[in-house]
Symmetry: C2
Subunit: 395 residues, 2 copies
């Protein structure tokens, strides 16, 4: 049997861990909020916070009124000490690497983007990311030695680490190994659309709900589902794959092997082709969004029809998952009511009416850095369900 | 500050609670399994178990080899004392009340069924259930005074308890109140298709997986999703509503307000009508299943076409939720490969191929009492996300 002193120390440690986990996950919290989050008594909590402040692990900050309705005068907040370390989030896209660095108090200290050539391989992408991070750190005098861990958002299915080498996830193993070695810290990975959903749930449009369907409408169509406050990952890391739900089982063959997939109908490439067929040649998704904002009639019609198709699929998702909110992200979300209107109409028309509360269809809050910020949220969250790929001794 | 003695007692209590919760949720466990489940050291765990055995809360039992591959000689198991109390599960169907009673060691001690007239109201259903339980208890000499709580499965959306009175869930409030008063214990409720899913996950076809899509194919079409080991409930208690996913946005109007809903195409009533249109008049779903088992050609064709439609919807669900397993329950599941074949084919053809592991489509294990047993599983599970509706002082 362990001694009473050991037992007390462990109890104390468990309480301290609970406080730190709540702050990691939620950012700055008042003492009252911390009491709720941890279930600790006021007396115990106050003693722990005093000790943590004395040891420099947490700091007391001025309260900033947040949320929809601030009431009364703001209480002072407790947060992890920003100086306690940095977290790096990387979003490895098809043509672009994005990075974000935040401190332990949830403050973003740098974001940056670098284009990579179309068709760049994993190695090229990895080196571009490392160069980008090193350059930004030097320019902005960010001490990379303070990095505590790195989160990485990846395109496609991010499988379990124990999947055999021939699966899609294995092609990323050299990347995570290289990044872990470069920065001497642990690396966590997830699909980048799911990470964007996590970012919206942590800091963005869905921060007040626990059940949310997120879709990223861009060149590809991806998604992420928050259910009961947790991001769904699935048995093989593929949960959220909205783009490959079939709209028509007799439709054209998709690269995934299915037929009539949503992405083949409403993804950026399909929209550009539909515009071209109507005589409007556009260079890419950014140009398409600009043309729709300029109210080019053919482009608006193509986009509105696609939004209806997307809404049809989302109506099925809403019926099955029963979210409080649907969040539309990606470049197409910038078109506002042109896309939100038809999506909302399809969901209202088709999805099971289930309560007097309407399901809100809203645009994403976080813009292009959402996945990189989601990679940081992945590191901050209390119970990270995606395993650490590599955990060097230096961590 | 609390005294060191208080703190130690609380630590001890937390450890004990963890052991009891693991046993409640998983049934009988070996000491090695309990070490894994609770994270306690062997020394601490063994001391706690000895104490619990001495106090009569848990018992030591002979190990029964379970699971796909038993290895080595079976270790002795620890379980909650069966004499520690009873749990009652009720499944309130449209035409039938089912009940199951289990002890704390997960052993089912009684199941029974009673038909109720079609169109019976909530009050009639409630009284039938109370009569049934009283009668079974008397006949089999079950002491209802030992009841610790009651789980109830309900048809339709089981909303949050704080929803306004005009919502569908409110019509069940008199039922839960009456049952709580009758037996003097707390009552928990959930949708009965979701409870069948929970039962399959706890004791049945899905007990070895953490991500599972369950569909109950009967007069209605319902479902339940297990994601990362948790049953999804949704923001308004409606998660799992497979029956109202639309197959065709221009299809016939459904009672839910949508168009072309799956249930309207493949639910029992629709199948009976399709058979009648082909000249085969059948009295109900049981007769339909019997005719298909007798290989009546028209009936088999109708059922196989419906299985393909169901498979189309499930392919979308699988693409989005990425389960390890799809479990088909309800009366139609008795038709084996006639229904499993087309469902499997649609999922294989359409759902995103995501790993070398094929998604298994399997029939449910638990039969007609699945929802009543799921109501017991709801009570046993460690972290019940559905609130206690009523908690009388007697509890």
């Amino acid at each position: 049997m362990s001694s009473p002193v050991d037992a007390l120390q462990r109890l104390r440690q468990m309480h301290e861990d609970a406080v730190l986990a709540a702050l990691r996950s939620a950012g700055a919290l008042s003492r009252a909020q911390l009491t709720q989050h941890t279930g600790l008594s006021r007396t115990t909590l106050f003693a722990i916070i005093s000790d943590l402040i004395e040891r420099g692990a947490v700091v007391e900050t001025e309260a900033v009124p947040t949320g929809p309705r601030g009431r009364g005068r703001p209480a002072s907040l407790v947060a992890l000490n920003p100086a306690a370390g940095l977290l790096l989030g990387l979003d490895m896209g098809r043509r672009r690497v994005r990075m974000a660095i935040a401190n332990m108090a949830h403050q973003v200290v740098a974001t940056e983007t670098e284009d990579v050539p179309a068709g760049a391989g994993v190695e090229e992408l990895t080196e571009a990311a490392v160069r980008l991070v090193r350059r930004v750190a030097e320019e902005r005098e960010i001490r990379l030695g303070a990095l505590k861990s790195v989160g990485v958002g990846l395109v496609g299915v991010v499988g379990e680490p124990d999947l055999p080498a021939e699966t899609v996830s294995a092609r990323y193993a050299p990347m995570t190994r290289r990044i872990a070695e470069e920065f001497g810290v642990g690396v966590m990975v997830d699909n980048n659309a799911r990470l964007a959903a996590l970012a919206e749930a942590t800091w963005g449009a869905a921060r007040l709900v626990r059940d949310m369907v997120y879709v990223r409408w861009s060149v590809g169509v991806g998604g992420g589902f928050l259910c009961g406050g947790r991001l769904l990952r699935g048995a093989h890391g593929a949960a959220g794959e909205l783009g490959h739900v079939s709209l028509d089982p007799r439709g054209p063959l998709c690269h995934c092997g299915g037929r009539g997939c949503l992405e083949g109908r409403v993804g950026g490439q399909a929209l550009l082709e539909a515009c071209a067929a109507r005589g409007v040649a556009l260079a890419g998704v950014d140009a398409l969004v600009a043309a729709a904002q300029d109210r080019v009639a053919e482009v608006c019609e193509v986009v509105a029809a696609a939004a209806t198709d997307l809404g049809r699929v989302l109506a099925g998702t809403v019926t099955q998952l029963d979210p409080a909110q649907v969040v539309i992200g990606g470049e197409l979300a910038a078109l506002g009511s042109l896309v939100l209107g038809p999506i909302d109409a399809e969901i209202s028309r088709q999805a099971l009416p289930r309560s007097p509360r309407r399901i809100k269809v809203v645009p994403a809050d976080l813009g292009a850095n959402a996945s990189a910020m989601g990679a940081i949220a992945l590191l901050l969250h209390e119970e990270p369900p995606v395993p650490l790929h590599l955990q060097p001794a230096a961590f």
